[in-house]
């Protein structure tokens, strides 16, 4: 690896730095089912707007059934009925015409997947084929994207493995022979081997042990900085977000409630939900009692009117029950969707 190509790539990226790699505008993705004439809609993603900039790690936090996974599926064009996009736009900078992948033809999609957009998944055991050596997984995933002879492909894979601090010997191993941390490194190597512009990481460390988790996160950050690509990191664990992400968005019941630079989100959260989440994190050395929110996350088939957080919000007023707050800027790089915060009265 020489320094020259990296520099060239850097200056190229600097010129395109203004343009976000992914721009999502008012995206609505619903699960629509019809059984015996009864229609049902689950509004899993409802009016989400955000952008992921070049060379950053963008975090998405939210509890289960907040719509995180639906959002990633929509972005990666991995939708299956009954999930469908019912409104809004998605635009990838690398897709000519600035369209979303769901508008791509299958040939375009095949050309862009893995070279442009790839995916680090949670369960490394279910990504790698258990009855094939790791080498075969690399051939399956990347063989057709890296146009090379067998020998040069092998060299390419070995160089890339060195980047994630894995011995070339793992290529001859079966997945069950590797430890959980090593397997997750292999899946990270698989996802980044084509140096994609955009990587989605869905709970990349949830299945790992605490001790290994930090190493894997360090590695994800190093490899992202090295490649200069954008990474969308999705996890419910706020500790992980605080450790690696540059900007962080919090999702609740299908909508974004707050977005800010990560250190700012932790130091001055504004939405009542974010404030609660952060205040309830237990810490070593801190013994003050933690409180829990009342109620439970809403059913997205029949979400509450107005602000979806109002039934559990201590600051809720009449306006919150009637109107839906939109994300408004409350500072540089800080947006929040709450009437009680954005100046108005609740």
């Amino acid at each position: 690896m020489t320094a020259a190509p990296t520099l060239a790539a850097d200056s190229m990226r600097a010129t395109t730095a203004q343009r976000p790699v992914l721009h999502v505008e008012d995206l609505k993705a619903y699960y629509r089912t019809r059984h015996f004439g009864v229609e049902r809609e689950v509004k899993a993603v409802d009016g989400v707007t955000f952008e992921v900039r070049a060379n950053e790690i963008y975090g998405l936090a939210g509890e289960s059934s907040s719509g995180k996974s639906t959002l990633i599926k929509t972005i990666a064009a991995a939708m299956r009925p009954p999930l469908e996009i019912v409104g809004g736009t998605l635009a990838f900078s690398f897709f000519p015409g600035g369209k979303g992948l769901h508008q791509a033809t299958s040939a375009e999609l095949a050309a862009m997947r893995w070279r442009r957009l790839s995916y680090i998944m949670q369960g490394s055991m279910s990504v790698l084929n258990p009855v094939r050596r790791v080498r075969r997984s690399f051939e399956d995933f990347a063989g057709r994207h890296v146009r090379a002879t067998v020998a040069s492909f092998e060299t390419h894979v070995r160089e890339h493995l060195a980047l994630v601090r894995l011995e070339p010997g793992v290529l001859d191993a079966y997945p069950h022979e590797l430890s959980g941390g090593m397997r997750q490194r292999v899946t990270i190597a698989l996802a980044t081997i084509c140096r994609p512009d955009f990587v989605i990481a869905d709970e990349p460390t949830t299945a790992l042990d605490v001790v290994v988790q930090k190493d894997v996160l360090d590695m994800i950050r190093n490899i992202q900085r090295e490649m200069g690509s954008s990474l969308l990191l999705v996890t419910h664990d706020l500790g992980v977000h605080a450790y690696v992400t540059d900007r962080l968005a919090v999702m609740y019941a299908g909508r974004l409630v707050e977005e800010a630079r990560t250190p700012e989100l932790f130091s001055s959260p504004q939405h009542p939900y974010t404030r609660h989440l952060i205040a309830s994190l237990p810490r070593i050395g801190d013994n003050t009692p933690r409180v829990s929110l009342t109620g439970s996350p809403p059913n997205l088939a029949a979400p509450p009117s107005g602000c979806r957080f109002h039934p559990r919000c201590p600051l809720a007023g009449d306006r919150c029950r009637r109107e839906t707050p939109v994300m408004t800027a409350s500072g540089p790089d800080h947006r929040v969707a709450c009437f009680a915060v954005s100046g108005g009265t609740a």
């Binding site: 605490v210 988790q213 930090k214 989440l277 309830s280 237990p282 933690r290």
Partner: protein
């Protein structure tokens, strides 16, 4: 002197693997000793990464596995052998489990109240349906639910937090002296997690129920536990008062575990 609530002396468990002639022995737990007293209810946390033997230890305390060596005594009775029906009843009347994933702990095709009534009749001395109803309702109220919310409902109709509370209520019906909770909050949503953790504190303080809390999360361990055992490769590497141990861990492994905790920088003073 009264017998200790739970006493483990030099408990070991090895699993065998491989064919009879090439048998390998895998030690899961080796030489663990500790005791819980009857007089004071306390929360004992067992921390360690996966494969450290935490769950095997819990299964032995619950009488689900038999130790290879050593003895486990519950209120003075030795329970470290294959248990007959009566002995099993005694164990489950004293120690009750709460599992990690409440959706897997209950049969998805059964209504939840079935489990509550079953436990009430077997262990809660409820001799008729009316009595079972009353005690189920009382137990559910202790965890912040009520029978009218639960009756006739299936596990998928409740959120993870509610279901975990129902699981704890079911454990309470047996009027245990000890609850063994294996990763009870790792499947519960963040906004509800602390309510379960706080509930364990309430059970200790108000009902005098001791808790063995098994986790890999040092932050919640610090928050609720009185005593802590740190396990690594089947051995207890460090134990003692939770706050003291976690503030200044001595063993290299405990230090590594503490360094691995991702702590966001924030001020805990703010709340809503």
């Amino acid at each position: 002197m009264t017998a200790a609530l739970l006493e483990l002396s030099h408990v070991s468990k090895t699993f065998g693997s491989g064919r009879p002639l090439a048998r390998r022995r895998v030690p899961a737990v080796s030489d663990v000793s500790f005791a819980l007293q009857t007089e004071v209810a306390e929360i004992l946390t067992i921390v360690g990464q996966s494969g450290s033997g935490k769950t095997t230890l819990a299964r032995m305390i619950l009488g689900l596995d038999v130790p290879t060596e050593g003895h486990i005594r519950l209120l003075g009775h030795d329970v470290s052998r294959t248990l007959g029906k009566l002995a099993r009843r005694f164990v489950l009347g004293t120690v009750q489990p709460v599992f990690q994933n409440p959706f897997e702990a209950f049969n998805p095709l059964r209504q939840l109240d079935y489990y509550l009534f079953l436990t009430a009749r077997h262990f809660g001395a409820a001799d008729d349906q009316q009595h079972a109803h009353n005690s189920a309702d009382a137990a559910l109220r202790q965890v912040g639910l009520s029978l009218s919310e639960i009756a006739g409902r299936y596990p998928h109709e409740l959120s993870g937090g509610q279901l975990q509370r129902a699981a704890i209520a079911r454990a309470l019906l047996a009027r245990p002296k000890l609850i063994v909770a294996d990763e009870p909050v790792s499947m519960v949503d963040a906004s509800l997690r602390m309510s379960i953790v706080n509930l364990f504190k309430t059970l200790r303080d108000e009902l005098g129920i001791s808790l063995i809390y098994i986790t890999h999360d040092l932050a919640t361990a610090y928050y609720i536990s009185d005593r802590i055992l740190i396990m690594h490769e089947g051995k207890v590497v460090e134990s003692g008062d939770a706050r003291t141990v976690l503030a200044a861990p001595q063993h290299p492994y405990s230090r590594r575990l503490k360094e691995a905790v991702l702590v966001p920088e924030f001020s805990s003073a703010q709340s809503i």
